[in-house]
């Protein structure tokens, strides 16, 4: 369902040209749980941004659920993203001025859900990640683990087909990290495709496949037995 062919991404400044991705090809099947690993600056986040349609490749082809999206308009990318992708970030990226429930609701607002439905689904999602009791709090009143669970609730609430997680456990202690991973594993088992960037070998082991990046290129792929 996701098919990258010879994807490259180059950042240019007047002085320097940085090649973040170099001819990356990658297929991801529906319902698959993929971990992306590699040292800092190898292009993991760039790859994730391109997969999530937050960024466009400089060259190459990208087929997103059967649709060719390399070079598609920002408007089209937004529409596709809105229907299909949920994001989880390392730094949680919650909106400071909104409450926990309102933060989760943001993922539904732009998908045209009615107010009553939004309310119901937000409550369900918060219940699912076990922070329902904190619904009215502001993000900075929560611990890191709780904040990341809110971010996961936000990613899940719209039932996306694809969840992209950028080092979701990077800012968490082991206990909270384990919680987050069990949530993601559950999501994957329920049939949602999950692509996760991580530095942790242990968490990568939760995925069905591990892709290793180095200097913008895929250097190894490990498929774990189911």
């Amino acid at each position: 369902m996701l098919k990258l062919e010879q994807i490259s991404k180059t950042y240019r400044t007047p002085d320097v040209e940085t090649r973040a991705l170099d001819a990356v090809s990658l297929d991801v099947a529906a319902g698959e749980f993929v971990a992306i690993m590699g040292p800092s600056g190898c292009g993991k986040s760039t790859l994730l941004n391109i997969l999530g349609l937050l960024d466009s490749p400089s060259s190459g082809r990208y087929e997103f659920f059967g649709e060719q999206v390399a070079g598609a308009s920002e408007r089209r990318l937004t529409a596709l993203r809105r229907g299909a992708v949920g994001f989880i970030f390392q730094s949680f990226n919650l909106i400071d001025d909104l409450s926990v429930a309102e933060n989760v609701e943001v993922a539904l607002i732009y998908r045209g859900a009615s107010s009553a439905e939004r309310k119901r689904r937000v409550a369900e999602a918060l219940e699912r990640v076990n922070v329902a009791h904190r619904a009215r709090h502001l993000p900075q009143q929560l611990s890191g683990g709780q904040q990341q669970r809110v971010a996961i609730a936000r990613a899940l609430v719209a039932n996306p087909k694809l969840i992209l997680a950028d080092e979701p456990t990077g800012n968490l202690d082991t206990a909270n990290g384990d919680d987050v991973m069990s949530l993601l594993t559950g999501v994957s088992r329920a049939g949602t495709t999950v692509i996760m960037v991580t530095h942790s070998l242990a968490y990568a082991a939760c995925a069905q496949r591990t892709v290793k990046l180095l200097d913008g290129s895929v250097v190894a792929e490990t498929r774990l037995a189911a």
Binding site: N49, G52, L54, D55, S56, E74, R75, T78, A79, R81, R82, G83, F87, F89, S91, N93, L94, I95, D96, D97, V106, A107, I109, Y110, R111, P139, Q140, R154
Partner: protein, 804 residues
């Protein structure tokens, strides 16, 4: 440490050129506005204060106190009071008289018409003006003496001290220059022209007045002639002196002329409401608006500083971690704002120096910015700048220094401080803007109303000639092609200054205007009677005893005379008891003359006078040779040719003066000059307010977009479209404008209705104007912020998220 702070400040300024530029420029505009209004107010408050001893020098202005009518003040007073005052009161040290008169001066080839002040020989004892040459104390002792200022000396003689030289007055009387004074401040004194001549000259105005009093006495009315200046003794109690002067005046004036002499201190004349209505309140309004503009500028600065506080958070965290306490950091940031204000002050002072001549020309003021000569001004600027620096810097310093290093350094979510306070300030700024727009609109409406609608007469192409009403001249005028009609009236037709202290039959005192007109004048001005008939020719009566004649009255007179309706008044006798003495500018009128006329017609209320004054009951009566105005209605074409033809007729009247003619439209514009200026000044201030508001919003929208970059990224990652983000950002700035309206509407409504109440006839406050002001403020807001919002909303979300 200070060097470190200074470097941080300068680099921060350099790194954020847009914000620093907006902050400094905004403060400069605000400070410049405050400085200019301050200088204008100072010049108005210090008029004539350059004259030593002004604190004890007073003008005795004539005041008339008619029944049921506000007091009428005039700078001039009866000439004989000077001697009387000096004689009767020991606490009056010296008294002198000064009477202005236009004369022709000539020396050799140079000839011009100048206003000259005839002055008693002791004038310069009271008014020791700065002397350039000669001895002022003795300068006016010889009857042919003349004192010039430097400009006049140069104009006629080409040098500064032409002592002993001769000027010819009105082509007849030689006058010898006995002293030269310095040029007096322009628009800063009541002795504007600076030309004084000895009042001892047989042909002087003062001698003529004295002769008139000797011949006529005071029984038949009071003549005003020149101003009376007096210097009171140091120990004198003014309230007591004023009471005794009033008693003296009452014993001298005829019993049916209630009046007094009002003592007004030399420097307060220009602010005396009876002589210059509205000047005082105009000063207050000017000051208030200057302060508002400065406040708006401070708000811009405060908002920019706090909105961008998050950017400085790391610096605060590191400094605190290294041992800085809150106080030292507050001092650092306060110092920063003082540096901003200092830069802004330099710009503001330059701007003020450049623009002051235009401001003076525009407002007709004589403000000077001579800080090199008056170091106190410099001191005030420094004090003011420091105050503004503290006012604008205190809050940002408070917010910035309050960041906790733990939060900042951990890099966790950081809420930039003072969001609520900043929103409140934005609301305040928007409400200042909306208030200024409403005020500018209402003042403009009132100006239009005053010069067009309130007039209720046809002033179009109406030429007025100041001339006695000669039949041959009138007929000659009628024969000029393009002249539609010619009729005469008294001066009161324009200024309404002729009224009687009358009594109704039941004894109620009532001030009634008496205006001499030829009845054809009503038709000429497009005034149709509401009852009765106006027969134009041959039926005009005169204000003479026993003369039974026909009169026209206005609707107010119908009500005040107690008639049920205009129709009921027709054919009735004017119900005034006993003989009124006409108080025509205090001029002698037939004493005991009685109006026994019959009412022929009733006309609607109208006034060509200023709308500040209520229309009084008015009797329009027969014209006479004493009439002073000829109204000439012109057809629309070939105006220059018609005027030339009229000018050619003038010499035949035998007058030695050149023709004095003007269009009624111009006269009215002049009459409403103060309202016009107020409207224009408010317009300028509204534009300044808009500029500041735009600057503030521009900076704030940039800062907000920056602050919300992460949020925008998240929302876009969640599927928000550009239009969603745009809408969100625009709404953020729409809300304060709407809130500001709630604040500005009632407040400006209250202030403006009070301003309007100063006019007897005024427009009503219209709701659409308030709505329009809000819409305009919204438009300014949206235009200002949409560019930035659009730019931010379109950005790729990945850029926004990477920013984190």
């Amino acid at each position: 440490m200070w060097r470190n702070y200074f470097m941080a400040t300068v680099r921060n300024m350099a790194r954020n050129r847009l914000y620093s530029g907006i902050g400094i420029f905004g403060l400069a505009v605000g400070l410049c506005a405050a400085l200019l209004t301050g200088l204008v107010i100072r010049s108005e408050l210090t008029r004539d204060r350059f004259i030593p001893g002004y604190e004890r020098t007073y003008v005795a202005a004539a005041a008339l106190l008619p029944h049921g009518h506000p007091p009428v003040y005039m700078m001039e007073s009866p000439s004989f009071f000077a001697g009387l005052l000096r004689l009767k009161f020991s606490d009056i040290g010296a008294v002198t008289r000064i009477a202005a008169e236009p004369v022709r001066l000539r020396h050799g080839e140079i000839e011009a018409r100048e206003v000259l002040y005839w002055a008693d020989p002791n004038a310069f004892e009271l008014l020791p003006l700065p002397t350039l040459a000669g001895d002022l104390q003795t300068a006016l002792r010889r009857p042919d003496a003349i004192v010039l200022n430097r400009s006049m000396a140069r104009k006629y003689f080409g040098r500064d001290a032409p002592l002993g030289e001769t000027l010819l007055l009105d082509g007849l009387h030689p006058a010898t220059v006995t002293a030269v004074i310095e040029d007096l401040p322009i628009n800063g004194t009541q002795f504007e022209t600076g030309i004084f001549a000895s009042g001892l000259a047989a042909y002087s105005n003062l001698v003529r007045c004295d002769r008139q009093v000797e011949q006529k006495g005071t029984k038949k009315g009071i003549s005003l002639c020149g101003r009376t200046y007096l210097r009171v003794a140091p120990h004198a109690r003014l309230s007591d002196l004023q009471r005794r002067v009033t008693a003296l005046v009452a014993s001298v004036y005829p019993p049916d002329i209630p009046g007094t002499l009002q003592l007004i201190r030399l420097d307060e004349v220009h602010r005396f409401a009876g002589l210059y209505p509205g000047n005082q309140s105009r000063l207050a309004v000017t000051g208030a608006i200057g302060a508002l503009i400065l406040l708006a500028a401070c708000i811009v600065f405060i908002n920019l500083s706090t909105a961008r506080a998050a950017r400085r958070a790391l610096e605060v965290g590191v400094r605190k971690a290294c041992g800085a306490n809150r106080a030292t950091l507050a001092v650092q940031f306060l110092g920063e704002s003082l540096l901003y204000v200092a830069l802004a002050t330099v710009i503001a002072v330059s701007l003020a120096e450049l623009s002051l001549p235009y401001v003076n020309a525009f407002l007709n003021t004589g403000a000077v910015f001579d800080y090199w000569r008056q170091p106190t001004i410099l001191l005030w600027i420094v004090v003011g700048a420091v105050a503004v620096g503290i006012l604008a810097g205190a809050y940002p310093a408070f917010v910035l220094s309050a960041f906790r290093p733990r939060d900042v350094l951990k890099g966790s979510t950081l809420r930039s401080g003072g969001t609520a306070a900043r929103s409140a300030l934005v609301v305040l700024q928007c409400s200042i803007l909306i208030g200024l727009i409403i005020a500018a609109g209402v003042v403009y409406q009132q100006r239009i109303f005053a010069t067009r609608d309130a007039l209720r007469v046809d002033a179009d192409r109406m030429l007025i000639i100041r001339s006695s009403c000669d039949a041959p001249f009138k007929n000659a005028l009628r024969a000029v092609p393009g002249v539609r009609g010619v009729y005469c009236s008294s001066e009161a037709w324009l200024n309404g200054m002729t009224f009687c202290n009358c009594r109704l039959k039941d004894g109620t005192p009532l001030a009634v205007d008496m205006t001499g007109v030829e009845f054809g004048l009503f038709d000429l001005y497009g005034i149709k009677p509401v009852a009765g008939q106006i027969v134009a020719a041959g039926t005009s009566g005169d204000f003479l005893p026993e003369h039974r004649s026909r009169f026209v009255i206005n609707e107010t007179a119908v009500r005040r005379f107690g008639f049920a309706s205009p129709a009921h008044a027709i054919g009735q006798v004017i119900p005034l008891a006993d003989g009124p003495t006409q108080l025509a500018e205090f001029s002698a009128a037939p004493a005991g003359s009685t109006i026994t006329g019959e009412i022929a017609a009733v006309v609607p209320d109208f006034s060509i006078n200023a709308v500040e004054e209520k229309i009084r009951p008015t009797i329009y009566g027969g014209s006479s040779r004493r009439d002073e105005l000829i109204s000439v209605k012109l057809s629309g074409r070939d105006i220059p040719e018609i005027l030339a033809a009229i000018d050619r007729l003038w010499p035949a009247t035998g007058s030695k003066e050149p023709i004095n003619r003007f269009f009624l439209d111009d006269y009215l514009q002049n009459l409403y000059l103060s309202v016009l200026r107020e409207a224009q000044a408010l317009g300028v201030f509204a534009v300044l307010g808009m500029l500041l508001a735009s600057l503030g919003l521009l900076g704030l929208s940039a800062a907000t977009a920056e602050r919300r970059t992460k949020e925008i990224g998240i929302r876009k990652a969640m599927g928000a479209e550009t239009s969603d983000i745009l809408r969100m950002l625009l709404w953020q700035f729409t809300r304060p404008v709407l809130l500001a309206s709630l604040l500005a509407w009632p407040l400006s409504g209250f202030i403006l209705s009070r301003w309007l109440n100063g006019f007897a006839y005024h427009v009503t406050l219209q709701p659409w104007l308030f709505l329009a002001a809000t819409l305009q403020a919204l438009l300014i807001t949206l235009v200002t912020v949409s560019g930035h919002a659009w730019h931010v909303a379109r950005a790729k979300p990945v850029l926004a998220l990477r920013y984190e």
